[in-house]
Amino acid sequence: MAFDRFRQHRVAVASVWVLAFLAVTAAAAPLLSPYDPERTNLLLIFEAPSWSHPMGTDSLGRDLATRILFGGRVSLALGILVVSLALTIGVSVGAVAGYYGRAADAVLMRIVDMMYSFPRLFLLILFAVLFGGKLITVVVVLGILSWMTTARLVRATFLSVKHREYVEAARALGARDREIVIRHILPNSVAPIIVAGTLGVAGAILAESTLSFLGLGVQPPTPTWGNMLKDAQSDMSVAPWTAVFPGFAIFLAIVSINFIGDGLRDALDPRHPTKRSVDHG
């Protein structure tokens, strides 16, 4: 049912194909491109886009299209890893706060409030400066700074569901807390979690590109869409294509993920068809 509703959102369906295209070409990058993403060639500096280099070359003569394909591997994998981490933390915190209430709830939600009070990019930059720009640290830092929305969503469902009769019934039948939480309450928050998670992937990709653009994300020579744009900042007066293509890749990934998230929201939450333009906070 939800699937049929999703299929009616034509832009979302098209976005699934775009995203699949990006993912497959990134995964198959070594098969698709004859060039090495990191090998420099000083004879081919700043070649304009042509048949042999469809997106041109950069300041070290590297093929831009190849680097974008390889960069996509980092961005897309990172997006999924960050969201997995953020959902794990967010669901656990939200479930504990919502289910046990009282002191646990008060303490955890104040922590959420505090985390929300710092501009996320400021903390990201601080942690990135402190702990260096390895892929794994970037993932952990982004994950630790991205779980709060999920925690609030999960807590809200728990609060509204935990005193329903079927939950009381399960408890009366001797079900343990763990079982009640996982089997009976959590499934109610699956829809908002899926939507938040999807949009979270876009957020993580954007955050990583921002960090890399500032020179704090994954370090060169490993290409990412963000650090390619950082280089483009100084090269774009002679070679504007170095700025245009990597940015377009980020834009394409983010816009298609956002459309998919929109389609999922319509499909999973049919009660509020007009609400689809509301949140997105």
């Binding site: 832009v11 104040r110 409030d113 505090m114 929300y116 009070s117 710092f118 501009p119 996320r120 990019l121 400021f122 903390l123 930059i125 601080l126 400066v129 402190l130 702990f131 876009a202 954007l206 590109s209 921002t210 653009f213 500032l214 744009l229 483009a232 900042q233 774009m236 007066s237 504007p240 700025a243 245009v244 940015g247 377009f248 980020i250 834009f251 983010i254 816009v255 956002n258 459309f259 929109d262 007009t274 609400k275 333009s277 509301v278 997105h280 906070g281």
Partner: protein
Amino acid sequence: MHRVTSYVLRRLVGAVPLLLGISVISFAILKAVPGGPLAAYEANPNITPEDIVRLERAFGLDQPFHVQYLTWFGRLLGGDWGHSYASSQPVLAMIGERLPNTLTLMGTVYVVTLLIAIPIGVATATRQYSRFDHLVTGGTFLAYSMPPFWLGLLLIILFGLQLRWLPLGGMTVPGATSFDLVDRLRHLVLPVTTLALFGTAHYVRYLRASMLETIGQDYLRTARAKGLGERIVILRHALRNASIPLVTVAALDLPELFVGALVTEQIFGWPGMGRLFWDAATRADYPVLMGILVVSATLVVLANLAADVLYAYLDPRIRFA
């Protein structure tokens, strides 16, 4: 009015633990630096381990955590925010010097965003599912997904490098000595466009949704039944109520603008708070970093508070309980 005052006071008191928590976290983060705040000195061959010990004592770094925190916090309240490691200037003065520039940028962005977003939001809601509505909804999605740094670079390439209509960055022409409004505005165009696109998309979506909700209400039918013109119904009755949630969003967007401002200030060389934070972060200038973290988090808390109070004030259904 008395009720409002006591509500605001109660909320302010309620915000105190949050602010204290924020200060502890800011302090703890910067204490967690691998090697400590003096790590930069340790790499310097001219500084002996004895010097490090002396510096530690001079900065009070040999004291236990809570003593250091209390000393720092006490000075913070007294207006002594410490001195920059890099330039030895007082932190408070550095922030004071940069804040007006960021506020100029942010203020202009706010005004431009609202001026564009309100008419468009109203127009889409009154013409739901028209071609115009679909166009705008699609457009907001694209604007929403636009990485601000990419947009900034594209604008520089197009208007700065190719057409040469506008300056590439900075706040004034190099060497300018006096304030020149035209020059300032020319420098504002590209960074404001970069920041305003996202905000406009955000507000249009929000206003459209809340207008649609309001338009379905009974009191609008009543207003029409009284014989009021459609224009007055929409502008005076619908928009007025629909913009109440917008006030909240506008307040909650403050941190978003700070964040957007960092990247934008970086690209366009705008000497604001974001740039200051960025420079301090790359130089491990901890007193400056702590100062900015405290200022920005405090602003966020106060903005939230202002949003709640305004919301309750504008919507009489909400009691100041």
